[in-house]
């Protein structure tokens, strides 16, 4: 277990600024998720922490020690690449045992550890196969087993579930979480999938264009996004944002409901011109505009199936949001501002 910290970390590729002054701490034993759209620099940040890439500026610290000049092999981190990067010319057993061999662990002890790691991920029966004879899910487990086998102090996982099919991804997510809890190793996990991030992370770091937009617990990120980027990136569909003077008002689609369902006292009401209704079974997604504001105010409402009110496209309905569920953002900076309605 270790504390991982980066300070003022920047990385340039030629003229392109991939990371800009990133500062971040992963606490001991924490499951920290780096979340952001593809190309925002998540992998780059992970590679800088692993030591595969050298920072243009800034420091990486592991347990308080600056490791900028320490090569990857001596940082005691384990990494799982998005591609899994299994050694194609080695069997599963040799793949998992490779880090031990490189660290001169005696053969007998190593063999035991390999069996143990393989057992942990239920791949004990595959030890003599080659990577190309494995399914995607099996490869992912081999990569994880290889990562845990030498008790690293940090796990770096780069979108380890993105190559799995949707169903497998859900069960793998759960397994991964349980396993991390059990061994309690500090884990930094990269994903562009917000559902994965919400489900897995102790804390989430939301990144965009090479810098950090918000760090916080999943609930906090969801409820109190730091800016319009985070508001628009998290949630599916994301937060509605509507112009209101020099500010933007935001509200989650599931909070934007027929007026009959919200207590009158402290609600803000709108007339909702419905243009399209999608019935997804468990819920309905209702698209439309807020009365009078025409196209600029396109919003979505998410109504659970338990609400029986009939809604049709082409008509207007009274909708409202509880005042406590409104979020306000500065129009110019996009940052969230405290305070209620004008």
């Amino acid at each position: 277990m270790a504390r991982v910290e980066v300070r003022g970390l920047s990385k340039r590729f030629g003229g392109f600024q991939a990371l800009d002054e990133v500062g971040l701490t992963a606490r001991e034993g924490e499951f920290l998720v780096l979340l952001g759209p593809s190309g925002c620099g998540k992998t780059t940040l992970l590679r800088l922490i692993a030591g595969i890439e050298e920072p243009s500026r800034g420091e990486v610290l592991i347990d308080g020690r600056v490791v900028n000049d320490v090569p990857p092999r001596l940082r005691n981190v384990a990494m799982v690449f998005q591609s899994y990067a299994l050694y194609p010319h080695m069997t599963v057993r040799e793949n998992i045992g490779f880090p031990l061999k490189m660290h001169h662990i005696p053969k007998a002890a190593a063999a035991g550890k390999v069996e143990e790691a393989a057992g942990m991920f239920g791949i004990g029966g595959l030890l003599d196969r080659r990577p190309r004879e494995l399914s995607g899910g099996e490869r992912q487990r081999v990569a994880l087993a290889r990562a845990v086998v030498r008790n690293p102090s940090v796990f770096l996982l780069d979108e380890p579930l993105s190559n799995l099919d949707a169903k497998l991804r859900v069960s793998a997510r759960e397994e991964l979480r349980r396993f991390q809890r059990r061994i309690g190793v500090t884990t930094i996990y990269v994903t562009h999938d917000q559902v994965e991030a919400m489900g897995l992370g102790d804390r989430i770091v939301v990144m965009n264009r090479g810098s950090i937009r918000q760090v916080g617990e999943p609930r906090e990120i969801y409820e109190r996004p730091a800016d319009t980027f985070v508001a628009g990136f998290i949630g599916s569909p994301p937060m509605n944002l509507v112009e209101q003077g020099d500010r933007l008002v935001g509200f989650r689609p599931e909070r934007f409901l027929p007026a009959a369902l919200t207590p009158k006292a402290d609600a803000v009401a709108w007339s909702f011109d419905v243009t399209w209704v999608e019935d997804l079974g468990a819920e309905r997604l209702v698209y439309g505009t807020l009365g009078g504001k025409a196209s600029e105010g396109r919003v979505v409402s998410r109504i659970p199936a338990s609400v029986p009110i009939a809604i049709e496209a082409g008509r207007a309905y009274p909708f409202s949001v509880d005042r406590v569920d409104l979020r306000w953002f500065d129009r110019a900076t996009g940052l969230r501002t405290e305070g209620g309605a004008p």
Partner: protein, 280 residues
């Protein structure tokens, strides 16, 4: 109707292929005939030259193997090939890796530059290089060839290996570095084992190209004990002014076929070096 068309198309195909096979392989068939023909049959203008008019004989083979330096030439060729392969590997592997992985902007340019040096022909270089080898006292020494042959193997093999190395996913090396290897260690322990077929290709080309080489050998070596097959056979198997066609053809045949077999296996890789990315 369709059946007839199909048959006709097949017939055209086989006809074409046969014509080409005859054109390409006839000289070698000609070598086979001469190798086993008795002199009396061989040197008779009236005899049908395409068949054995008298029973075949092993006399020419015997002459070639026991009365000429042919085996010495083979031995020399083998030694030169081996040494050139080793030097080529030593120079081209690190260079190609460095260009493929680490050199960013100048890598591509330098790689193409190295490939272009392959286009500098031996027919320009042999004059100045003959002064070099003379200056180093290497005339009539196999060392002159061993030192000079990498001028055509190194550029070409560096270029070929760059392709091999680029095809190995970077992730795998980086994984190896996280797993406990240095950058150099990752190259030796992970990348090289994964590029075995590339390394084998380099060895095969260094060997075959060395064996094919004619001009440098002709220029640097006049002592018959130091000749390679490529010059030994055409220059030495002549008695006075008279060509000894039987042993000559036997020598050409024996030296050609094994190298051709090996080369054929690797031909596609060789060609991939020429297509320069025009074929993906």
């Amino acid at each position: 109707m369709a059946g007839i068309r199909k048959t006709a198309r097949r017939a055209t195909l086989y006809g074409r292929l046969s014509a080409f096979v005859v054109f390409s392989a006839f000289p070698f068939y000609w070598m086979v005939i001469a190798t086993f023909k008795r002199d009396h049959d061989l040197y008779a203008p009236a005899n049908n030259p395409f068949v054995f008019n008298e029973p075949p004989t092993l006399d020419h083979l015997r002459t070639l193997l026991f009365d000429t330096h042919f085996l010495t030439y083979l031995g020399n060729t083998f030694r030169v090939g081996l040494a050139v392969s080793a030097i080529t590997l030593l120079l081209a592997v690190p260079a190609a890796y460095s260009l493929a992985r680490w050199a960013k902007r100048w890598g591509e340019a330098l790689g193409i530059g190295i490939f272009l040096t392959y286009l500098v022909p031996s027919t320009i270089l042999f004059l100045p290089l003959s002064r070099f080898t003379a200056g180093w006292g290497l005339q009539n020494s196999l060392w002159s060839l061993i030192l000079v042959y990498p001028t055509f193997t190194v550029p070409f093999c560096t270029w070929l290996l760059m392709g091999f190395f680029k095809a190995i996913p970077r992730d795998i090396e980086e994984q190896a570095m996280v797993d406990g290897l240095s950058r150099l260690g990752a190259l030796v322990r992970v990348v090289l084992p994964l590029s075995i077929s590339g390394l084998l290709t380099v060895v095969v080309f260094s060997f075959t190209l060395s064996m094919h080489e004619f001009i440098y050998a002709l220029t640097f070596i006049s002592d018959s004990a130091a000749k390679t097959v490529s010059i030994g056979v055409p220059t030495e198997l002549v008695r006075g002014d008279v060509f000894q066609w039987g042993p000559l053809m036997a020598g050409a045949l024996i030296a050609s076929i094994p190298v051709a077999v090996v080369y054929t296996f690797f031909l596609d890789r060789f060609v991939s070096g020429f297509t320069m990315g025009a074929v993906k």
